[in-house]
Each structure stands twice: as C-alpha cells, then as structure tokens.
Amino acid sequence: MNSVELRVPLHLVERLFDAVRPLGGNERVAFGLVAAAATPRRMLLLLRDVIPAPEEAYLEPGTHGARWSGRFTLAVLNRALAESCGVVIFHMHGFGNPVRLSPDDEESGAEQLELFARVQPDRPHGSVVIGEATAAGLFHINGKLVRPDRFRLRLLGSFLEDRENRSVDPAPVDDEAFARQILLVGSRGQHRLRGATAAVVGLGGGGSHVVQQLAHLGIGRILGIDHDVGDETNRSRMIGLMKSDVRESRLKADVLADLVARIDLGTEFVPIRAKLPSHEAVQAIRDADVMVGCVDNYRARADLQALAWRFLIPYIDIGLIIDPEQRHHPDRRDNWIAGNVYTVIPGSTCLWCTGFLTRAKLDAETGGRDPSYVRDSPGAAQVVSLNGVLGSQAATEVLQLLTAFGERPGDSRLLKMNGVHGTLEKWAIRPRSTCDRCKHDLAAGDPVWTSSVA
C-alpha cells in the first residue's frame, strides 16, 4: 500500500494535540482507535477516539522518548478488540522538516505493531509522529509492516489541514490564468486545489454551476455523478447544456465533461453515469476529499450524510425551494423563495442533528414505502440565477476547505438564502449530543464482518 491517509474528525483534533504535546520536555503519547476503508488511491484510517496515556501509565524514560506500562497497552487493546478497531500510537516531535520517526521510534513502533497485529490481526495499526507542519508513520496493514511512500494526516475543520511525510514548500504556480486568484489563495492554496478531488452529486440546475466554478478554480479532479439525460426543461438552467445535447439525449455527466474540457484549466472531469446509491456512485464518493450534494430528495441527502460521516469527508449540500403559490400568503410572502447551503464537517453538527433530515421527511417522500417510490419533482419551479447563488457559494465553501482563504470557526454551518429579498445569511446550528446517526456513522469506515463457516 503506497499511500495511507489518517483522518481526524473535528471534535478529536484538539484532544489529540493536547494529548501529545510534550510536557516539560518529556514526550507524551496517545493511542487512537481507528476504523479503515480502502479506496483505489489509498488506505484510509479514520480516527474514532483518542485515548491519552494517563500520567500514572508513564514509566521512567529511557535515553529519550516516552515509555509506558504494558497494563495501559492492554487496556487499549481490549477496547480495540471490543470495538473492532485498529490501534495507532501518536507522539510529537518539535523538529524536522519533514518530521521522521527516529530509529528508536521505528524499532519500538515495529514491536508494538507486531503485538497489535497478533491480538487484532484483521485491522490496520500504526505509529505516527506529528511535526509542526508534517507527519510520518509506520503501519501494519494486511499482515506486514508498511512504510508508505505517501502518508497524510488530515485534520478536519473549516480547513482541511494536511500534514504529510514530505516538506511543504511548493514552487510558485506559474500559470497566468490563476494569477489573480493566487492573490487570495496563495501558491500553496492553488497547489492544494490542484491536488484535490471533489465529488459533485447531481449535475443539473445546481450541480452544473458547481462544476463550472470548480473547473475555473483549477481543482484537480471532479467526480461528476448523475445518471440522467438533459432534457428541454433543463436548458434554461443547466450550465453547458446545448440544444444539440437535448436532441441527442446526452447524459448530463457527458455534457459537463465537455464543459470542463472547454474551460481547459487542467481539471480532470470523471463522469460517473450512475445514480446514488449505486455501487459505482458510492465508490466514487469514497475517493473524494470533499463532496457537494446538489440533489432534489431527502433520501439521497441521507445517503450522502451517511457516507460523509463514515469516511470523514466534508459535505456541502445545496437546495432551493420556490413556492409561487405562497407568494401572496401573509406568512410566506417574504420567504417563498428559500435556499440553503449546509457545510457539514465530520465531528461537528450533522444534517440529522439540525433536523434538516428526519425520518418523517424521508417517509413522506415515499409514502412510508421503500425507496423505489421516491419520485423526482419535475414540476418544481427552478431558476438559473437563484441556483447560481447557491452553486457559487458551494464552490466558495470548497475553496475555503481546501485553501483556508478566510479564517472562520471549524464547525458545520448553515447559510440560508432568501430569494425574495436577495440575502444569504448565516444561521446558528448546534450539534445534538443524543444524535444516533453521529454516534453510529462517524468514522465507521468499511463494515467489519465476523465470519462464521459451517
């Protein structure tokens, strides 16, 4: 396995760093329980919990480095077994660019990982050192020790902070096309964009705006997911859809592939001609750094929310409701054109926490029957310029996640659009500590089946 990425959800970032920051010159360690998921490009390790070593677990240090009791290791292993998790040991070095595991770290790490693998053979394990801007790791995956060519520690927040096993001093971006953009995002930000993958689910009125703008931003790869053809009713609002495309019944994914090719700023567009939750669509989403949902039903949103939490992928959802029948209603005449841009960060508020997703809404879509009864709403009002506001903001949310062009809190957020008055405002949202979905889905990774043979 050449590439390993370890993702830390928002609520564990501070806890991890507090646990491993050296105290009085002494190294400290924390254990992490991790789930795993394999994607075409890398092995994902998803941090489910951080277990700091308590003071009483530390032994007298040797020549250097931390030593801790076997009793503490055993307690961690017992918990890992109970929760079907792998174990990762974290510590921190204040030196080295890039930071590296010392020879002692390598030797002791290898021993520990072999022990973990004997106790919990089917789960990946690791030893990670965190530096100021870089990180390095040694892993035990699929029965052997692995020193990946590429290791990335990703810290989730309003910005996806990556610490990798290589120095980060990118050469200036020498492309006149992005010169003005770089004044905002910097060369590093532009490189981050170029190295990123966004999944855009739904390529119609909202998604086509997102794709167009991400391509202009110079994002590296867009996975465009939609199974549908563009028809005549789409022509007034789907960016890039031509009369000839409708005549030829071309798929929306192929129409946008052409659009991105014409923009020609280096973005690779991968058409996924499939519908969520098909295997093909799910596999594509797993490979993304960020996902944007531009769908028109709650069922699809529930699936995207589940995938975002399970694989620790930030999820931006846009939606628009235009209800002309309410135009003259005394209670609705100010807000009968309503849109939202949700940016949900794994480890913070989810769409179930906020009440945006509820069982009742999902049941209402199908009349309480199975999902095959979900019907699109072909007759609902849609307007390109209103979609464009939401699509543009979604692209800006992606830009923020990848480049940190603006400083903002790391929590999930909701922007609500009032299309009547032309406003886009931030609304307060709070996590719900009793949210079952957060507990069940967060950092769950691939399911772990226990086999039993006759």
Partner: protein, 114 residues
C-alpha cells in the same frame, strides 16, 4: 440473541458473516440460490434483524428476472455503506417458521415473470 437462527442459516447456506450495530444484527449470506431463470442464479443476501420485528432482506444489485429484465419495485439502498437491492414481497411468516424458510420464500419473489 439469534444464535440458533444463525446456526440454521449456516447449515442451510454455508458462509455466514455477522455485524452488530446497537440493537440491529446484520447477517450476510455469501451465497443464496435464486429461482430458475434468474441471472445470476446465485448471489449474496443480507438480513437485518431487530428484536422480534419481521426481518428485512436484501440481495446484491444487478439481478435479472426470468423475463430477462430488472425486477419491478426494487430499489438500491445503502446499508452500512454498501449497496444492496431492497425488494418487497408479502408472505405470511412468523419467527416459529425460522429464518431459513423466510429467506427461501422471500427469494421466490424473483420467480415472477413481469
């Protein structure tokens, strides 16, 4: 909780894999046989068990029925981040009848020519 039922499934279908999420038990059967005329003839199936509720059953997507097409009133759903085919088929059943009979009867849904 379902030890006896799982044993029965193992005897009838061979490989069985399990996963528990809270009060829900998921049971994956690596190979069940579909009615004559279906393509493929064998596929994986998934049961979700919760208390004494009637189980839910899924099969792998991509099945063609005896008529050569995709069976009606089926839909792909996400279960534990995996894509399965949900289908509805009403038949009388109670826990006394056992899960092996449940699976066998449910799969007869794909014998329909439609």
């Amino acid at each position: 909780m379902y030890d006896a039922e799982i044993d029965d499934l193992r005897q009838a279908f061979g490989d069985v894999a399990m996963l528990q999420q809270g009060e829900t038990h998921l049971v994956r059967l690596s190979s069940v046989t579909l009615p004559l005329g279906c393509d493929p003839r064998a596929t994986a199936a998934l049961l979700t068990l919760r208390g004494q509720d009637r189980p839910l059953i899924y099969v792998q997507p991509g099945i063609k029925g005896p008529h050569g097409g995709t069976p009606r009133s089926c839909s792909e759903v996400l279960v534990e981040a995996e894509t399965w085919l949900q289908f509805s088929y009403q038949f009388p059943w109670s826990w006394e009848d056992g899960l092996v009979r449940f699976v066998g009867t449910a799969l007869m849904r794909f014998a329909k020519h439609e």
